[in-house]
């Protein structure tokens, strides 16, 4: 069977498989089955993928995400699984090096699926060129329209016909109801969704714009001599000439820009030096937490603004090193200023890390605090890549490409940890140094139920403490037992609606433990 002929049966098979394995199930073991189908189909339809090193790396990342999904089954692992599968498809079907472009190509797959599928079907049925169905429809439209109009007139004029029509209508209604009783409309819509998703994954578009665009991009900056007229068309030119006026124009423009850059970086470095000295003396060396320190304001306002300043700093550097200043022979001081500013920004990142650390020590772990750690890691990678960009004359494309890969690696790491369980365990273990935020722990998914169950007595005591300060977990007092029992029951009920297709290690372990505690309770009673 030729390749073009196999797409339609593959998509249909994929749609039915999707419908069978995902309908009213949790994304877990069924993902493995779907992966087996999709990956074999992709390697069969796009043999180039097996020889492409980036596609193979992406496959490894995807398999790690699948492992994370089967191991932890958290929301992050589900997001990581789906995004890594789609990115693998992008790298397997198209020639890309960047995650951005591969992602863009997959988005185009989804947007243009109908056109791609129509082309497949048309190519397949090219043998029956003269479509008899089309001719039949054209012949039938006018007579059918006439028939409908006269039928309506007779229907109003003749009572018996009207009665029969009403009866026929009722019968048709019943027929539809019977059909939808057996095949629910939701299930049919789910089948269509499966068809669309499988089709978009398996069929690549005819669009080559993104591939061509990326093929024209390089990691290393090249010096391009641009005529003044052409240079004046760019929006950068508008900004520079708007800010610098006459100094930004003419043959001396590059020299003037270099001077402006050096002055800006010297001033910014001096300013940041003061900030860093304050941070080092107050935060790094002499910090001692006392209740009068408003740690909340220090972290939330401070962290957000500092992160914004670091990101802005990267943009400022990218602005100065966007083009010909990279090749300007007298840019030594500009480069030194830039490196100094990068180093100072790294110190600032460390200060934010320390702020977050103090906050975690005083108040325990939380998603936002972990999010700050992830974001700071990304910023750190960003600063290092900006340094490489300036030092080795790299392009903005390089910067975006490397940082996107770093973000992907972080996502994979994020999918490997069961954060709900980790945060709960950490906060319970450190309850003596950081007050246990019980209402917050109860907002987590059911994944932390066994940990809460193991520490029931401790939670009861904490609830009493909270009740004494007028903080209630629900509308009742001393209701932690009721809350936990109700959550346990709901969780077990929900798990019992799933089949083996939703199996994953985390849920299996939780289910086993909860069922054991419940049976113990019953036997004690």
């Amino acid at each position: 069977m030729s390749l073009s002929k196999i797409y339609t049966p593959l998509i249909l098979a994929g749609a039915f498989l999707f419908n069978i394995i995902f309908w009213q199930e949790n994304l877990a073991l069924n993902a493995l089955l779907f992966d087996a189908f999709i990956l074999s189909a992709v390697f069969y339809c796009y043999p180039r993928a097996s020889g492409d090193s980036i596609a193979r790396w992406m496959l490894l990342i995807h398999l790690l995400c699948l492992l994370g999904l089967l191991w932890n089954n958290t929301v992050v692992s589900k997001i990581a699984y789906c995004s890594s599968l789609l990115l693998f498809i992008g790298f397997a079907q198209y020639v890309h090096r960047s995650v951005w472009f591969a992602g863009g190509s997959v988005v185009m797959n989804f947007l243009l699926f109908i056109a791609s599928f129509s082309e497949q079907v048309r190519n397949k049925s090219k043998i029956n060129k003269k479509s008899t169905a089309g001719r039949f429809i054209r012949f039938a439209i006018f007579p059918l329209l006439l028939l409908a109009i006269f039928f309506l007139i007779y229907n109003f004029a003749n009572g018996v016909l009207a009665k029969w029509t009403a009866q026929l209508g009722t019968q048709i209604d019943k027929l539809f109801l019977k059909f939808f009783d057996r095949f629910s409309i939701d299930r049919i819509l789910f089948l269509i969704l499966g068809f669309y998703i499988t089709g978009s994954i398996l069929l690549r578009t005819k669009l080559k714009a993104l591939e061509q665009k990326e093929a024209g991009l390089s990691d290393s900056l090249k010096r391009i001599r641009m005529f003044r007229g052409k240079a004046q068309e760019s929006w950068w030119y508008d900004i520079v000439s708007g800010v610098m006026g006459k100094l930004g124009k003419g043959v001396m423009a590059l020299k003037n820009e270099n001077i402006v850059g050096v002055i800006s970086l010297v001033l910014l470095n001096i300013l940041l030096l003061f900030v860093n000295i304050i941070d080092i003396s107050h935060l790094w060396i002499n910090f001692k937490y006392t209740p009068d320190v408003n740690l909340f304001a220090m972290i939330h306002e401070g962290t957000e603004l500092l992160i914004l300043s670091i990101v802005l700093a990267m943009f400022v550097l990218l602005f100065f090193f966007r083009g010909n200043l990279n090749f300007y022979t007298k840019n030594k001081w500009l480069k030194i200023g830039a490196y100094a500013w990068i180093v100072q920004n790294i110190i600032l990142v460390i200060s934010v890390f320390i702020r977050d650390y103090h906050y975690i020590i005083q108040f325990g772990l939380a998603y936002k605090r972990i999010g700050v750690l992830f974001f700071l890691s990304m910023v750190l990678v960003g600063l290092v890549t900006v340094f490489i960009k300036i030092q080795y004359k790299k392009t903005g494309y390089y910067l975006l490409r490397v940082n996107a890969w770093a973000a992907l690696v972080l996502l994979v790491f994020g999918s490997m940890v069961n954060w709900d369980v980790y945060i709960t365990k950490y906060n319970i273990a450190h309850r003596t140094t950081a007050p246990l935020n019980l209402p917050y722990l109860l907002t987590f998914s059911d994944k932390n139920l066994p940990v809460l169950e193991d520490n029931r007595q401790l939670l009861r005591e904490r609830e009493k403490e909270l009740n004494n300060t007028n903080i209630k977990l629900a509308r009742c007092t001393d209701c932690i037992d009721a809350i936990l029992d109700s959550r346990k029951n709901n969780y077990l009920k929900e798990q019992n609606t799933y089949t083996w297709l939703s199996w994953n290690l985390a849920d299996a372990a939780i289910k086993k433990q909860l069922e054991a505690t419940m049976s113990n309770k019953i036997s004690k009673q």
């Binding site: 056109a115 048309r122 309506l152």
Partner: protein, 134 residues
């Protein structure tokens, strides 16, 4: 391009009014003509802001590297999604749930989607001719 978009739009709302009028015969009797007129005027007023969206879709249509016979189903699909999104936005604005078990709402949506599909294929010639002449 606006004229082609206008063709698609006016044909879709005409078909929608016609078909929904026919659907309402069982309930409304001879007043189905009133229903038809009401739906037509209502859609004329409410869906006017969708014209620029149809123009954008047509612009994409002419750029896509596919055969016209493959792009037409794509255009129909995109416009059907737009129509569905329009209904969802309307339900959000009016704070009325879209699928509240009222069968006439489901029928209205189904008929609208069918009308959009038919309108695109009905306007096939103006769509293709626009590409040839421009």
């Amino acid at each position: 391009m606006l004229s082609v978009a206008f063709y698609i739009w006016i044909r879709a709302i005409t078909l929608n009014a016609l078909l929904f009028g026919l659907y309402s015969i069982r309930e409304a009797g001879i007043s189905f003509i009133m229903v038809m007129g009401g739906v037509f005027i209502g859609s004329l007023v409410c869906t006017l802001p969708l014209l620029p969206i149809i123009v954008i879709c047509l612009k994409c249509f002419y750029v896509l590297p596919y055969d016209t016979s493959d792009k037409l189903p794509w255009l129909a699909f995109v416009l059907m999604v737009t129509a569905m999104a329009f209904y969802m936005m309307l339900s959000l604005l009016l704070q009325v749930p879209l699928f509240n078990g009222e069968s006439f709402v489901v029928w209205l949506i189904a008929i609208s989607l069918f009308s959009v599909l038919m309108a695109v294929f009905w306007t096939r010639k103006p769509i293709v001719n626009f590409k040839v002449t421009n």
